[in-house]
Amino acid sequence: MSKEKLQSHAVQTTGHAWDGDLQEYNNPLPRWWVWAFYLTIVFALVYWVLYPAWPLGKGYTTGIAKVTYVNSKGETVTTHWNTRADLMAEMNAAAKAQKPYYDKIAALPLEQIAKDPELNSFVISAGKQLFGDNCAACHQAGGQGVVGLFPNLTDDDWLYGGTLEKIQETITYGRRGFMPAFGSVFTPEQIDQLANYVLSLSGEKVDAVKAQAGNALFHSMDAMCFYCHGDDAKGRQDVGAPNLTDKIWLWAKVPAADTPEKKVEAVKTVITQGLGKGVMPAWKDRLKPEQIKLLAVYVHELGGGK
């Protein structure tokens, strides 16, 4: 059989030969594959022209695609395309869509906002967002708070008042709760008596004798507890003193305690150490008035509003 005949059964080679008889197969790529490759090159070229692509020393090519947006200072900025500017442009569009609602909120008195079904639906959805961004860090996502740290906004107890106006005031200007420490004023025994009395006000099981003594102490000029919490221990909203007769606890971790002794301990801690950390920041510099208004309605509707 001739050499040609043998080769006719082989696949195509590149036509070169090394070392006398060493040959290389020629297996061309499928045409669709080659075309797809060319297309990726064209895509890359178009991309370089449109978008930031090449590093140049300390800078980079910015591309010809532009994004225009209004920044937080109200200036209109046009810049080369980048994801941050793109996000800003989207935020502008979202703010524009919300504007009619906010305009309405700014114009209406607080009570009216909650009565308009459409506006109320907007408050519920936009309020959730605003609350999540600004309030949830302390008051938790649902407004349920943390006993011993941050008030629960979903119950019906308010330190400073739960009307729409009061809530708006609290958000705008903030609050600063304070209770003096009585650890150096009273003996441990007296503090124990006071704690028993306070717990008895909420219907908890206590030592009746101690509570009796605590009652006297509470209303004495030595302790002056009644000065803030009131003669009837129902608190004073003008100074943010809590009602001690209800079943709601903010500072003393009573609900978490499972034995009467631990409950007494929890209350004793508060009386001994006092409180200085009840700080609610003011939001007037961070939020717009209509946003605060919306939040006031939202918080009111979390369930505790009065």
């Binding site: 040609e4 006719s8 499928p30 459409e118 109320n120």
Partner: protein, 477 residues
């Protein structure tokens, strides 16, 4: 050294051009009928006005932006469509199987978009370049003025038709008259231009250039149709016994002209005129038996019947028939074999699902409600020890008028539920409203109650009470 000389097998097969010959006959007439009907619906429906007071005056429009789908008197929403489209898909599939089990790929040959548009494109080609012989000649001749002019015109008209097809499709998704104005003044949404461009190109490529290759290489249906075939399924068949005889096919020639003469010599009825091959849009020879590219369009039947008529032979050398009949020693008249478990099963499935769809559309409620429990916190202990749960009720008004809904509860005392300002709430048409509800129960009741119901009653139809169940959580549940 000499290079390898063997030609390697290509990774793709070069298309062999097909120039289908025009044909006349009953299947051709039926195909025209279907095409005219389909084109009238597709190209015409989008321009049909339909006065609406709360939407665009277009009979059929799929408003993606506002998530509303207008289909004549029916306004559907995505949440309806998910069910209806599911049913529709099932019905379409079962109908396809039903028809395929009965008469083979009838869908492919007469109703498929690819067939309809290819058919129309071939008709245009035929109109501009002439029938098959002229087209073959044009194909073979070198590039000159005539060829450039004729082919250029053909492709230009194809592109025009493709464009209008694409434009019409886009018009179903927006108010059509507005789209015409915006589109040609450069103000339409970029998505509209992109849609029209892509569909123009795909239509042009699929119906103008791809044609039968789409059916053979792209369409998955061609590949699995055979599983739905039975020996009783009617398919386009060449009657080999009659056509080939003992000695095979033979052209008409002296001594083999009448049937008696041909019988005596052992020839069959097929005169080998190859018309059935020339008219085939997928370029196959049906006389080689059933093959997967066959789309069952019946044009070969028309061609053969025409030839049989002209030479005075009985029709039906190529016909719709089933394997059982063709193979039987004494073939009878072809008929539909519907008394089969499979066919009846498919038929029943179509009927049942259609009934379900009609029922679902007819009984759609004008109100859509959803009750969700506020889970952060799950419950709140109030200052007097009562337990409170909170809920959000979303009310979506699907009717065409503003409706007032009265909200209430069942299973717990009425005063336990506080609807705030919205014991009664008015919702505008096509609007949805969120209402917050708090439910307060004394500790003893909270221990007992695990679930209750919200009732929503439209004021205009007090008898129609919508009930949504809700759960109540307390410290011990």
């Amino acid at each position: 050294m000499q290079a390898g000389i063997e030609e390697q097998s290509a990774l793709y097969e070069k298309r062999i051009p097909i120039f289908p010959r025009a044909v006349k006959g009953r299947f051709r007439r039926f195909k025209w009928g279907v095409l005219i009907l389909a084109y009238s619906v597709f190209f015409g429906l989008v321009w049909l006005p339909w006065p609406r007071h709360d939407g665009p005056s277009q009979a059929v429009m799929f408003d993606l932006v506002h998530r509303k789908f207008y289909i004549f008197g029916l306004v559907a929403y995505p949440q309806d469509l998910i069910v209806w489209l599911g049913l529709l898909l099932f019905i379409a599939a079962a109908l396809l199987f039903f028809v395929t089990a009965l008469v083979g790929r009838a869908f492919c040959g007469y109703f498929c978009f690819q067939t309809l548009w290819t058919d129309f494109f071939v008709w245009i080609e035929n109109l501009i370049q002439g029938d098959r012989p002229k087209r073959v000649r044009l194909y073979k001749q070198p590039w000159n003025r005539e060829k450039i002019l004729k082919l250029g015109t053909t492709h230009f008209v194809w592109l025009l038709v493709s464009f209008w097809t694409a434009f019409t499709f886009a018009a179903y998704f927006t108010y059509a008259p507005e789209l015409v104005r915006d589109f040609f003044t450069g103000q339409a949404h970029p998505a509209a231009y992109a849609t029209v461009l892509i569909l123009t190109l795909t239509t042009y490529v699929a119906a103008g250039l791809g044609r039968e290759q789409i059916c053979m290489y792209v369409c998955p249906y061609a590949r699995f149709q055979s599983v739905m075939y039975d020996p009783e399924t009617l398919v386009v068949t060449y009657d080999e016994k009659r056509g080939d005889g003992r000695m095979g096919r033979a052209p008409l020639r002296p001594g083999a002209k009448t049937r008696e003469e041909r019988r005596a010599k052992g020839y069959g009825d097929c005169i080998d005129c190859t018309l059935c091959v020339q008219v085939c849009p997928v370029g196959i020879d049906i006389r080689n038996g059933l093959q997967y590219p066959c789309i069952s369009c019946g044009l070969c039947i028309d061609a053969c019947d025409g030839v049989m008529d002209s030479i005075g032979f009985p029709r039906g050398l190529i016909r719709y028939d089933c394997e059982v009949n063709i193979k039987s020693p004494a073939p009878g008249k072809p008929h539909l074999h519907w008394k089969r478990l499979k066919v009846i099963g498919y038929g029943l499935a179509v009927v049942v699902m259609s009934a379900l769809l009609v029922h679902s559309i007819a009984n759609r409620s004008d109100l859509e409600q959803a009750v969700t429990q506020v889970r952060q916190p799950l419950y709140v202990v109030l200052s007097d020890g009562q337990i409170r749960n909170r809920y959000q009720i979303r009310l979506a008004n699907r009717s065409d008028h503003a409706e007032t809904y009265a909200l209430g509860v069942r299973g717990i005392p009425a005063q336990a539920a506080d609807f705030g300002n919205f014991q009664e709430v008015t919702v505008k048409p096509d609007q949805s409203i969120l209402v917050q509800v708090s439910v307060k129960l004394p500790p003893e009741a909270a221990m007992r109650v695990e679930s209750f119901e919200f009732t929503i009653t439209p004021r205009s139809r007090p008898a129609e009470v919508h009930v949504s169940p809700a759960r109540f959580y307390g410290p011990h549940s």
